[in-house]
Symmetry: C2
Subunit: 460 residues, 2 copies
């Protein structure tokens, strides 16, 4: 394995920028991270680099090098923003002070997605030296800073810049191997509909002794709503119409799934769970890849410190997201969700002696994206399979993933482009969790794989 | 009205000590606050002052002056600890930098209970000058630092020191007027049973795209439990056996309640609520004073920042407290609560393909105390009514309060002592909430009332 230690040092610098896109206090860090990406692109021999800010969002970095319009064109995508880091006290080393332990880089964003984005940027730098003045492939790059925050900027900008983004296919490196020795290429992704529910009661936190029993508790009202969303016995989402547009699992899905060495015991171990759980009538693999689901991502209400505080809280709120499958419409699902929440909300209930609404319930969409289903036998996916096999010594299995990459929807559904998911993460990289890591061997081999794929395209 | 401006300055100093008993980081502040109380007692001419620390808890301050054992003895009680201050950003002035606005002292603990405790200490200082070397009343004082944190120290110490605490009756100033122009004296208090529920799922916060649908969400399991505790339609607590030992509202209660100028519209306005709500078949006044109830005090789960984070949280927890009425046994209620929670908890449910418990549910008691019911026509309560009428110009109504003062249980039930609640707070003092206040006129008149009550006892 060729080692690219200089590139490793550069990646560590990139990881030191705390580019958390959902937290307003990191605005300047987002600009620094976008600047870092633009510089890295220029160092790869691409001079045309633009930065676009859409509606005050985080910068989009777009770049292109078209030496001959007759050559094939590849669009490379990555994101420079990262997830928040809490709970901070569970990190063994600080999330933005990358530390190398046991051959892996521990830092927020190492695997998702700065490390993987860098495989593209550094592969181009290597190829640039090789190719010289005349590149056999036209390259376009789009890097965004809102992948973890709904991606509003790229969604809007892409809708207005179809021409600029046009390419033969797109390469996205933001996924992981199925298992340590089994590379995998996604041909399907779930979409996401991320909602927030807020229940407001009294004008302030009240003394529960003085007011308890006389005023409705927003926490209880929220519990009622949250308890109405999913059936813990059957694992079914209870929102009326939720499953209306779900496409049944196909024969091709079943055939490809049979090749996937998914181990339920390994899955449970990786989750640190005691057992698996989910929708009746489906295997765990189907549940997490091809079936829609609903999860509470967070709940906030009243006193959260140590010990006891006797408040009747003035508000209670929850973040709830649904993973949707191809053909489910995100706007339709968001609407059905809010309709259901409003139907369950206590104001609709007739309570004795009540003259108005005891609490106010608000339901809003934070972001949403459709799922994606690609042709698993497309020529680009086949080429990627060959290249991955060559570099990693094992032929990738074709899988449907449960995660959501909204940009894939834009590339595939809106721009009609084929998409190749060339992912170098490991299943235990702890994405979105404390102690996220990216293995150095995956980083180096990832650079090789991107190089080989682009060289292969250049030879066509 | 006589003004005690020097005592006001001393009170402001006392309020600057952030003696939050439930937060471990305030340990030193608790010791400072206890020291402040001990000093103030000595300044009142009482030389016998002891400080007791029970099992590493916050100091108890005990003091006594017995000039003639044949004289009547009064036990004065107050607490120097205060509630936590969050949400901090809703305070107009910092909670521990007392500010005087519109004739009131704004600070955490101003009304609950430092300001009221000080009416005792400063009344004694005035009487000491008047009485000279021979006091006509024996005085005992017990001040604790755990009233807002379960009161474990005083509970244990009192159980072992019945003799030391013995008195003709106890005076507790930790309550409020029913209305601005209507002083009130409590003859009943609700008890409290404060519980914590913790649901643990996967070993860490998981990526909801990768694991969602395959692992049970602890937030959903918690929502199910919380939704099973109270019926929002009928306002009834759903824990089996919860109402078994509740004593029905009596004729005396009804007669005294009829004298109480309780205004529902005012109650709603003070709560900042849109409407009242509660148990069917009872008035709001009955619901908040004489009926047991249950409130969610806080919920914590997963991501609570701004925007979106797609985690499947590893844990979800809630603090739930029940206000119980006299004759309900706190230990029995805590046991029934846990039995119910465990019966509702998902592990008991048969889920298809589940081989173990998908989440772990723990239920524990944080603290508990019985309710209290006194004889509303006792001689001490009658004397207190006369004194309050003299000082405040209106005869106090006799009420049952919805709040809990566990020490009253100890004094009345354990030590068999009559108790007088001589409260000087106002109903809009915002106890346990941001912008807690204590009105200066109430402070000055409170000092007068305590003096008059003790003088009257001394003349017997």
């Amino acid at each position: 394995m060729k080692e690219y230690t200089d590139y490793l040092d550069e990646l560590l610098d990139f990881l030191r920028i705390p580019s958390v896109s959902t937290l307003p206090e990191h605005g300047d860090d987002m600009i620094r991270a976008a600047g870092w990406v633009a510089d890295a692109i220029r160092k790869a021999g691409i001079d045309f680099v633009e930065t676009h800010v859409v509606d005050g969002g985080h910068p989009l970095v777009f770049a292109e090098r078209i030496d001959d319009p007759a050559n094939p064109t590849v669009l490379l995508y990555g994101h420079y923003d990262v997830q928040p880091v809490d709970p901070l006290d569970e990190w063994k080393s600080p999330p933005f002070s990358p530390e190398i332990r046991g051959g892996a880089i521990y830092a927020r964003g190492s695997s998702d997605d700065k490390g993987q984005l860098c495989t593209h940027l550094f592969a181009l730098r290597e190829l640039s030296a090789k190719w010289g003045d005349k590149w056999p492939v036209n390259i376009k790059i789009i890097a965004e800073g809102e992948e973890e925050a709904g991606g509003a900027s790229i969604e809007k900008w892409a809708a207005e810049n179809h021409e600029k983004l046009a390419a033969d296919f797109a390469v996205i490196s933001d996924t992981a191997f199925l298992k340590r020795d089994t590379p995998s290429i996604d041909y399907g992704l779930r979409g996401i509909v991320y909602m927030e529910i807020e229940v407001t009661g009294p004008g302030r936190d009240l003394h529960s002794g003085v007011y308890g029993g006389g005023v409705m508790n927003p926490g209880s009202a929220l519990a009622r709503i949250l308890d109405s969303l999913i059936d813990l016995e059957t694992g079914r989402v209870l929102i009326p119409g939720f499953y209306d547009d779900v496409v049944a699992i196909t024969e091709t899905d079943r055939r490809l799934a049979a090749e996937v060495p998914f181990e339920e015991s390994k899955f449970i171990e990786q989750a640190g769970a005691k057992t698996c759980w989910g929708e009746s009538g489906y295997s765990t693999y189907e549940r997490i890849t091809s079936r829609p689901t609903l999860d509470i991502n967070g709940i906030t209400c009243g006193f959260q410190g140590e010990g006891a505080k006797t408040v009747l809280p003035r508000r209670a709120s929850a973040k709830v997201s649904m993973r949707i499958v191809p053909n489910q419409n995100p706007d339709d699902i968001a609407r059905k969700f809010c309709e259901h929440v409003n139907a369950i909300a206590p104001p609709q209930v007739s309570v004795a002696q009540v003259t108005g609404a005891p609490v106010t319930v608000e339901c809003r969409k934070i972001h949403a994206a459709s799922g994606v289903l690609l042709n698993p036998e497309s020529p680009h996916i086949s080429a990627a399979r060959d290249v991955m096999e060559e570099v990693f010594g094992a032929r990738p299995v074709l899988i449907r993933s449960g995660a959501s990459i909204p940009i894939a929807t834009i590339f595939n559904v809106e721009l009609g482009m084929d998409v190749v998911f060339l992912g170098f993460g490991m299943p235990d990289d702890a994405l979105h969790s404390p102690n996220e890591k990216f293995e150095i061997a995956q980083f180096y081999k990832g650079i090789e794989a991107v190089m080989k794929l682009l060289e292969r395209v250049g030879k066509r």
